[in-house]
Amino acid sequence: MLVRKLRRTPLFIFHKEHGRLGEYAGFEMPLWYKSPLLEHMSVRNNVGIFDVSHMGRLLITGSEATFLLNRILTNNCARIKIMECQHAFFCNDLGGVIDDVLVFRLDKNVFFMVVNAVNREKDLVWIDKNKDGLDVEIKDLTDKVPMIAVQGPKAPQTLRKIFSSDINKLSHLQCSWFHHDGDKFLVSRTGYTGEDGFEIFIFKDCSEEDALNLWNAILEAGKEFKIEPCGLAARDTLRLEAGFCLYGNELDEETTPIEAGLNFGVKFDERDFIGKDVLLRQMKEGVSRTRVGLRMIGRGIPRKGMKILKENEEIGFVTSGTLSPILRTGIAMGYIPPKYASLGTKLNISIRGRLSEAEVVKFPFYDKNRYGRKRKTEI
């Protein structure tokens, strides 16, 4: 019998005591603590804290690091200012997404990359394969640098109590070094929920105790703002409601960033990067299928793999679906030909053999004036 031992993050002891555990990407992770819906709403309305240490974290350094990354990433990392980050993709020759990543530039020749947990090993092989002879060193810091996300409109107020009011000076996609209890942390204004928030990297040879101390300190600081620890279930419904892609659902090696509508992560300049030809052609000539948001008009919750139909003709499939806790209705993402993708187009989703009507809507699914990091309502 094959016994696969699941990996655990330094915060496992907390998850085990307070959460419902499940497997994700080879890790034993909390799916939820109190309830997925409550955790979801706590992030939309207040603040939530997530252990995201299962994400892969790579350090790429060396005099030719920029050269290497610009050859294998779709975005131009030479343009990243020091202590900022950008979204980018590793693509194969056909433009298919090997991984979607967040690239931080910590110094001129120091890049720190957050990659998907499911792709970490594949990414390492891909980088190594393309690095031939270049002066670049790659370190996998996944087990050494725990990662905690603090997300929601009250995230700044929570974290300024831990670090300092300088936390407010960070703009979206910027990062900075902070200190707490004599330890050093990298804090970025980034996230995967659609809300304002931060991701914290504990940058030292961190013990379980250090990670737990920070986690508990944030929980304590956030108490007055009704902070909730949140699991992967809420993380998934939050990103889906915000219209963000999940690798393995919306993205895979047969799907390009252009088809996914993620053009902001692709920079067509003088650089030659892997997959550029196909992506450029798709930009010029268009794509045969494109990612859309679908909101249910009829009953039922759309789920991954369900067919999308126009009248009775099958035109695509759902890549992610759930009940939106904010809208209280089924929402989905899926791929369909562009001619059906204009906003307001009525389509059907086949939910266990029954056709239920849905409408093409824009991302995010929620009202941007009321939720999300650009909300207009006073907090």
């Binding site: 819906l37 919750i301 009940l323 089924g330």
Partner: protein
């Protein structure tokens, strides 16, 4: 009717049970069907129940609908073959009733059985289901 407790799970006496964690209760000529306390606790927060159409004829252990959380979908299997004569429409607005009251307000359908004598023998009694859950919990413990 009384309650048998196995761990944190409640099992009602006088009902018939399936291995897929549905229950069936005789009400005159008909059977009321729902999911057990163990099932609702495993599913956790139920946000949607997909109900069958009234009048539909189903075979024993054929799926008649789903109970869904934000992340997961579980089929509901009919403990008996027969005709669906009523569905719990309250669940369309309040799916959480299945969590709050799995054996009462959270019932799913009422069925008019077609092969009752033959099929009833294939279902578990409350005592048998309690034993089934006990074994299940034991094997869950062993696997950790």
């Amino acid at each position: 009717m009384s309650i048998i407790k196995v761990g944190e799970y409640e099992i009602l006496t006088g009902l018939y049970y399936t291995k897929e964690h549905e229950w069936a209760r005789m009400e005159g000529d008909h059977f009321k069907i729902g999911i057990t306390d163990y099932a609702q606790k495993s599913l956790h927060e139920i946000v949607y129940v997909d109900l069958p159409e009234i009048g539909k004829t189903v075979a024993q252990m054929e799926p008649i609908g789903t109970v869904e959380s934000v992340k997961s979908v579980s089929e509901i299997y009919s403990p008996l073959s027969g005709k669906i004569i009523k569905v719990n429409e309250e669940l369309e607005e309040s799916p959480e009733l299945v969590n709050e009251s799995p054996y009462d307000a959270g019932w799913i359908v009422i069925i008019k059985p077609q092969a009752l004598e033959k099929e009833l023998k294939t279902l578990m009694t409350s005592e048998q289901y309690a034993e089934f859950i006990r074994e299940l919990l034991k094997s869950e413990e062993d696997s950790i």
